[in-house]
Symmetry: C2
Subunit: 118 residues, 2 copies
Amino acid sequence: MFIAMNRFKVMPDKAAEFERVWTTRESHLDAVPGFIAFHLLRGTARDDHLLYSSHTLWRSRADFEAWTRSEAFRRAHHDAGANRPLYRGHPEFEGFEVIQTVEPPREPLSATGTGRPG
Amino acid sequence: MFIAMNRFKVMPDKAAEFERVWTTRESHLDAVPGFIAFHLLRGTARDDHLLYSSHTLWRSRADFEAWTRSEAFRRAHHDAGANRPLYRGHPEFEGFEVIQTVEPPREPLSATGTGRPG
């Protein structure tokens, strides 16, 4: 798995507008091969900004890179320039390879069939 | 949902050891209330370090904070000091609230019951 994050330093008085723009946009991600999930993240407040980050899970780095060359990507970023006054500087991109995953043990769906109520 | 990340600036010649320490540790997270998933992430190489990040999904910030006050947390971090020579400075903590999630539409498990092969 691969995680692509873009960090935004949002001006405190623009935070509500930044969230509105993101949560109402048309991402066109649903149908992109290898797309697993997108999260918009709100981080902690600093002196002159609020940290936000987009956070997208991909099956692989190759899937992410294929998306950045796609028509869906161009459409999703068509209006990105219009939002520039909401945050300081450029968003900072960081890509991560997932090298270990730990999850709670799942409930067995059908074990021996004994001891099950009903 | 809440994402807790700790960023580590690992010395390039210590990367293999850093990964070994993390991937073989006993995290004690499995049974912690509100724990959803842990990922160890490898980021891009910089001039003098390789960026790594621990990445833990929690049901809520309150669940994360309760864990930091728990016995499981103390046990998981018991040997943390011993790993200090593997990275520069202190790990940098960042906590994020998930304020939007986008996922691909799921396959309906049982729709009308018609048109299903078999």
